[in-house]
Symmetry: C2
Subunit: 623 residues, 2 copies
């Protein structure tokens, strides 16, 4: 075993442990190998007033943690996860295994013996589209083909809604309010249609067969991305792999490896091989490392080699800042915070120094050619996103967005999947304009936004300033929310920050799903509230997004086991618990021989009406 | 000195310490004794590229902490704060000092010698309106009188906007988007008009002269309330006083003492005497304690005595659940979580048991008579607010709201100030309906909402689930947001939870102020972003809502002092800092002899156009 991840290996149990009262279940599809992992939370019985118990059906929830929360799964960091999609990719017959890795840089790294200690020990042979073939999910969708990935996604998005309904779960929910339609059930055919229309993407590089397929589109569950990655000042490969696993545990639908420090190539290999979720990168970061951080020295050739290097490792989507055009740079001159996207500022510096147009733009069609050969999805970067409330929605931002719309059409011409990056710092009243502009100018390609942060004034709490904006923009139709951690603007997030950022964003995404009316979104809320009303404390902890913290907070003041069945908590104490009193009221009505509160009140009202007639109660007569 | 607050006394320094680089300043008004405390944050100079420095004017921010952050103020918990408003109240000549406290219960407690150790040692003589007089701010406003309180508030709300503009602060901000108007400057006359119209309230009991006047209304800064208070299972008087001071430090505009445990009377006295912000209570909680927690045993007489007891102590606003009518109780029968307001469930129980109408409703005019004699403001309680997403916006909730609207008219007839309590658990797409209903049915009386929580599924993080909803409803026009702490649904918040809840809500309130376009709201964001772009790390910490945490997070990875002037942080490291690169770009353009980026690009574009004409660059021609 590699000594590199020794600590992680030793602590594996903590990562692979299922959530309390939860187990991994698998739902089989009709296509070979389609077996969708979900999390089932067992709930306790409801004690009835006659001393008997009523069972509560188990709750199934969407699960991003992959095999890590399945005690039956064999986890070996040195081999990586099992390649779930390999047989599907193979069966399509449009790819070939390469004799060797195609990028020059791969070989440079391989020849460096100093790197042996940190190298992933079981490299996969890379795969590429056969000559003349396009292997993107968009291509298949447009051909009318439903891939196993699409069936997997349909099952995953439905998340046993029909079964839960049949089991007796309370599935009623408030109608959503969104300017687009969501069907009552997600079918594989619907998935295909949305992908074919470019309204959704399935980031799934043929060299990342380990992922559990997922979809990013406004008609589906709102997704959350977690950024990880080292920087020049801090953190190791082990920490980054740990953060990736940790992130998927807490709900990351995709993970971006934004490493900018040492050994980016090796770090990424470890992450991809062990990741059950799609991995995104910003290839320009690594390209810049290759020219020692001197932006002017970047060349198309270096960038091109980086794209191929990463595509063959299995990166599922690339952020490409092809919309930062030379003529847009002056538009940032009067900004308060200039250019705050790292990729955007790198490209701006290059453009200005050479007085040339952005090479990502001039070589865009060649980039498409590379990406279609591996099915890497574009995440067209918003290099000119606003870094302060002051700069929100300015001409620089929207000019770039229009260019991204043009590039979207070019990518689609090549059958390459596209999503569009957006926001940054935007006050609430200006968020909707971003969504509307994106839909119009980028032809409904899925929107993928950072936050937005709705104020600049709370460093240390930007997971909150931005969850406010993220929930809103998710409701309006943004398909994936890029999380912000409490460390934003201050430093590199650690493990705990990753979790804080994720939970804040799972909340934002779920609030958005309720608001847009995604089918079944409210089941979990309903189950939680039923458990709450019935004082099933363990169920309250376990249904929540963070069972550990809920329990810890509860136990802080009432640590004894007996308090877990108590009909109150320390907030109000026993006499003041409104839920308990409500139950008392209902019991009282029943005792009095009334089947329901309505009858109890009606009888009371008659008595009362008589009394008041006698007294002529003044306020009463006003009604 | 009373041994009761010994620990607090010893730790006083930590509480009274000003925020870093901040000092208390006072702005004088034209009326006697109007001297408005604010916080001024000193900012460091901007280093220019020629080696010189440009000063940044100090930033003035709204300050709720009262004398506690003024090192010149003498703090003596046993005497309480100085009675800032006493001379104003006296000068109006419409009140009289009573020979003795009027409530029976006061005397019961006073005669109990066991309580001597916990009793506040310097009781104030209570004051009451002279016979036939009304002493409410609403009454004065309707008479056309601008009180010193109103002038104080106008100065406080403006918060030196004009001066900051003159000093060279960047005051530009994005236009707000709200269905109501906010003037460019808050004048005392505007304050009077809003109060006279019932659209704003000034909670200011004549027996709480210690407060710094503040206003709650949609045309003003969005306010935040923090709930504190012990429960039967936990916490002491000292802890509650500590929480109150702590809450005002972190931005609580009002504090509600929701104690339901022991010694409520004495706890409240300590809190009020030492509080610079208005204090609210729910008198029914104490009334219930007086009947040993048996709701059926509550009587109008006990409640009435409690109102007088609390009014003479100085409570500034009372939550009164007078809208929970007998006929509404059956409307909660099919709810998932029944009645979740403590006050609401107590009254429902009473109503149902006696088959009588809510005595708070039947005695409403008598309650008005009491409240007008002390200027206690109504906070008409939403006893039927939804406790789950499932129950949101149902008939029970809106039926009660309509009744609150009727009661508002009655209170206004008596010149008593009114605000309306609302939300609870409401998904995003249903929040606006709450605001619209309130405005229509309650005649624009200020709305004061708990959250709303936008999902039920995140116990341990309900400060976040609800900050999302609070920011939205604040934007729509809610005047005050009642905070939710991370302990909501799990236990009684401690000091740290109070702070977490407050910061989340200050963010929500500030985001709302930006969105509704409150004049000057964006100055702080602009100052922060300027500091950020200029790598003035100390200023970034100090301008933020929590300087301590911002600094702690920054220092976690880069603890050395030298990093506080570094042009990067650990998030991206030195080579990847986009802000640094942007500055490099600007410097580069200047070096090349171009005054600005625009010229640099224009010249470049010409060169480039020639080159591209020669090459016939394909993508280019498409543009």
């Amino acid at each position: 075993m590699s000594a590199l991840l020794e600590k992680l290996e030793q602590q594996k149990q903590a990562y692979v442990e299922p959530f309390p009262s939860s187990r991994k279940i698998y739902v089989d599809g009709s296509m070979p190998g389609v077996r969708v992992g979900m999390r089932e939370i067992e709930l306790s019985d409801t004690p009835l007033s006659d001393g008997t118990f009523e069972p509560n059906p188990p709750l199934t929830v969407y699960d991003t943690s992959g095999p890590y929360t399945d005690p039956e799964a064999e986890i070996d960091f040195n081999r990586g996860l099992k390649p779930l999609r390999e047989s599907w990719i193979e069966a399509r017959g449009d790819t070939e295994k390469l004799a060797d890795f195609s990028s020059e840089y791969h070989h440079v790294r391989l020849q460096d013996r100093k790197l042996e200690k940190i190298r992933f020990p079981n490299l996969r042979t890379p795969r590429r589209a056969r000559a003349g073939k396009c292997v993107t999910q968009l291509h298949y969708a447009r051909q009318g083909i439903i891939t196993p990935e699409m069936e997997y996604i349909a099952i995953r998005e439905n998340c046993r809604l029909q079964e839960m309904k049949e089991m007796g779960h309370l599935v009623q929910q408030h109608p959503g309010q969104a300017p687009f339609d969501i069907p009552e059930e997600i079918t594989p055919e619907f998935v295909r249609q949305e992908v074919a229309a470019g309204r959704a993407v399935i980031p799934a590089n043929i060299n990342h067969p380990e992922i559990e397929p997922m979809i990013i589109g406004r008609a589906f569950r709102t997704k959350v991305n977690a950024n990880i990655g080292n920087s020049a000042t801090t953190s190791s490969i082990e920490e980054e792999v740990e953060k990736m696993i940790w992130a998927t545990r807490w709900g990351a639908d995709t993970v971006m490896d934004l490493s900018t420090g040492k050994n980016i190539h090796e770090t990424r290999e470890w992450i991809i091989r062990n990741s059950p979720v799609p991995i995104g990168t910003v290839p320009i970061y690594q390209a810049l490392e290759k020219v020692n951080g001197i932006a002017e020295n970047l060349t198309w050739e270096i960038f091109r080699d980086t794209l191929i290097e990463q595509a063959e490792q299995g990166v599922d989507y690339f952020t490409i800042h092809a919309g930062v055009l030379l003529r847009y740079i002056p538009l940032t001159a009067n900004r308060l915070t200039g250019i705050v996207s790292r990729g955007g500022s790198i490209m701006a510096k290059w453009c200005l120094h050479h007085h040339k147009e952005n090479f990502l733009y001039t070589h865009f069609e060649e980039i498409c050619e590379i990406m279609k050969a591996y099915d890497v999805t574009f995440s067209l970067g918003d290099g000119l996103r606003p870094g302060s409330i002051y700069d929100a929605n300015d001409e620089a931002q929207f000019a770039e967005l229009r260019t991204l719309g043009e590039l979207t059409k070019i990518a689609w011409k090549h059958d390459v999947q596209v999503m569009i990056e957006g926001p940054g710092h935007v006050p609430m009243q200006m968020i909707k304009e971003n969504m509307d502009e994106e839909v119009e100018k980028c032809h409904e390609a899925p929107f993928y936004t950072l936050g937005p942060l709705t104020t600049d004034v709370a460093p240390g709490y930007d997971h909150i300033t931005s969850a406010i904006g993220a929930a809103q923009i998710g409701w309006y139709g943004t398909a994936m929310l890029c999380y912000v951690t409490p460390k934003e603007h201050l430093g590199l997030p650690n493990r705990e920050d990753v979790k804080e950022g994720l939970i804040a964003y799972k909340i934002a995404a779920h609030a958005a799903d309720l608001a847009k009316g995604f089918p079944g979104a409210q089941i979990r809320d309903n189950a939680m509230s039923k458990a709450r009303f019935e004082f099933r404390w363990y169920d309250q902890f376990n249904i929540g997004f963070d069972p550990d913290r809920a329990r810890e907070y509860h136990d802080e003041t009432l640590p004894r086991e007996s308090a877990k069945v108590a009909h109150f908590c320390s907030m109000c104490g026993p006499k003041f618990c409104s839920m308990k009193i409500t139950q008392d009221i209902r019991d009282y009505a029943a005792e009095q021989g009334f089947k329901d509160l309505g009858v109890a009140v009606e009888v009371g009202m008659q008595q009362q009406a008589e009394t008041f007639r006698e007294q002529g109660g003044e306020i009463y007569l006003k009604k």
